[in-house]
């Protein structure tokens, strides 16, 4: 299954689906590939055509997926991009095989992951990401009757709590670390985005009986073999809440492994792109969260811009691109509103594990002066997740800069890494 495409889109979330759809509608040979078992990304995860109408954002899912299905776009689910054998190809691996595929244009729509920060007890089973728990529930986990504390920072907390409430979970409290003053300022900035204000209000209404407290953060999670309670503070007093699960995430960070691998210029943590989403590498466009955490609307628009530009429809793409600008401003405002407070740097105890793959403890890392030194001396970031979790944490905790990406950007079979470039046949693992 060695193949060549006009356009390859990596990431089948809303942005990737939009990009692949408009490019394929223009007659290009397009491949949409994604690590997940099904297209949809995070926000449309687990949606089915017969049940989608009752979900938030379900209508958009139906419109875009039916448009996509009407094209000849090839959808490769369950494939990960692990390397770039050349400037115009990707090496892919699935659970059963590997192959190289070529592109004329690459659109990276790899989305974002949650930022996790270490605090005592954060490795206990039952402590999950906020988006993490949401994804697991969309994948069939039943939260009915579970006592859940939602904590961390970002607009996701409210959306997750609303969804869990709808699924009959018992949300005990939502603890947002950002101060009220910054939240109010952010609320005012939303005047330019009435739809987002309405969405926020709708989520809040779902959880009206749940305390939503700003200026509060998790201090620790307690339990013997799993989380049994969490301790929360407002900076003056602490209190403990008994719970079954803690859903805790500190906003989102973009997945930049592929842009880094190709050498795309990254500025202030996001891929730098022009008005048509092209990165500093001419054949590569980046969209959605990779250019700024801005959510669904931004991803859909940028996806269309990049998809149209990739097939030579620059004028149409440029007309759409003007609508991206306010959404990019919204993304920057989000980052500012949910800036992490300094106190969060002091949550970890000396023995708290920071790198969950290698069990590197905070005290070991405190001795290091850089990410590179930490990797060499403590194996922090050298485990299976390749720093996907501890990288964003240590960036905040120690101001360590993370640059470059080394293949394979995902754990891969030795035979996949060693295979000859452009092997004509699929290699079965």
């Amino acid at each position: 299954m060695s193949a060549a495409f006009d356009v390859i889109v990596v990431g089948a979330g809303p942005g990737g689906i939009a990009a692949a759809t408009v490019a394929a509608e223009a007659g290009a040979r397009v491949c949409l590939l994604d690590d997940n078992p099904e297209p949809g990304g995070q926000i449309w995860r687990g949606y089915r055509s017969n049940t989608a109408p009752k979900y938030p954002h379900g209508r958009g899912f139906l419109q875009w997926t039916s448009r996509l299905r009407n094209t000849n776009c090839e959808i490769w689910s369950g494939w990960r991009a692990i390397d770039r054998p050349s400037e115009h190809s990707l090496r892919l691996e699935s659970d059963a095989a590997m192959c190289d595929i070529e592109f004329r244009r690459l659109i990276v729509a790899s989305g974002a992951r949650e930022r996790f920060l270490p605090f005592p007890g954060w490795t206990l089973p039952g402590v999950m990401g906020a988006g993490g728990l949401q994804a697991l529930v969309k994948s069939g986990l039943d939260p009915r009757g579970k006592r859940i504390v939602v904590a961390g920072t970002g607009p996701l907390l409210l959306a997750v709590a609303a969804g869990l409430t709808r699924a009959q979970a018992d949300i005990l409290g939502i603890y947002e670390q950002a101060p009220l003053s910054r939240m109010l300022w952010f609320g005012i900035s939303l005047a330019a985005h009435p739809a987002k204000l309405i969405e926020g209000a709708r989520y809040r209404r779902k959880v009206l009986r749940v305390p939503y407290r700003t200026n509060c953060w998790i201090v620790r999670a307690e339990g013997s073999t799993r989380v049994e309670s969490v301790t929360v503070t407002n900076g003056r007093t602490q209190w403990t809440v008994a719970c079954d699960w803690l859903a805790c995430g500190f906003h989102l960070v973009p997945n930049l492994e592929l842009p880094r691998l190709f050498g795309c210029r990254i500025v202030d943590g996001y891929v730098s792109v022009d008005s048509l989403q092209q990165s500093s590498i001419p054949a590569i466009a980046c969209i959605g969260e990779t250019t700024g955490i801005g959510g669904l609307e931004k991803a859909l628009l940028e996806g269309q811009v990049a998809g149209l530009a990739a097939v030579g429809r620059q004028p149409v793409a440029a007309a759409l691109a003007s609508r991206v600008i306010p959404l990019q401003r919204f993304a920057r405002n989000l980052d500012r509103a949910f800036t992490l407070r300094e106190e969060l740097k002091r949550l970890a105890a000396p023995e708290t594990v920071v790198c969950r793959c290698e069990d590197t403890q905070y005290s070991e890392l405190k001795e290091c002066s850089s990410w590179r030194e930490a990797k060499l001396h403590t194996r922090c970031g050298m485990g299976a997740c390749q720093g996907r979790v501890c990288g964003a944490a240590t960036e905040f905790l120690f101001n360590w800069q993370h640059t470059g990406a080394r293949p394979p950007v995902f754990p891969a079979a030795v035979s996949s890494v060693a295979a000859k470039v452009g092997s004509p046949e699929t290699l079965h693992l």
């Binding site: 993490g132 069939g140 699924a167 299976a384």
Partner: protein
């Protein structure tokens, strides 16, 4: 975000030899959380269970049908599937 109400078929998988009833469309990670079953033991011997739910953190790794280090959050349950924690 409610569970998919269109998943109706129910079947069994085995986790460390124990029968687990799951609904079609459920990820292996979701099934293991519901069964209060940790996925792996860490370097220092701690039990670990899914964290990110979307294929990034690798905490949900387990051996599935003889293949080690599978990310169970990216894997849907199939009747008769054999999961062994690591």
């Amino acid at each position: 975000m409610e569970q998919n109400s269109d998943i109706s078929a129910v079947f069994f998988i085995r986790v460390n030899g124990r029968q687990l009833q799951v609904a079609e469309g459920t990820s292996v990670a979701a099934a293991m959380i519901a069964a209060k079953q940790a996925c792996r033991t860490s370097v220092l011997g701690e039990p670990r269970a899914p964290l990110c739910g979307m294929g990034n953190c690798m905490e949900c790794r387990a051996t599935v049908d003889g293949k080690s280090h599978r990310r169970t959050c990216q894997l849907q349950c199939i009747p008769g599937m054999e999961v062994v924690t690591e």
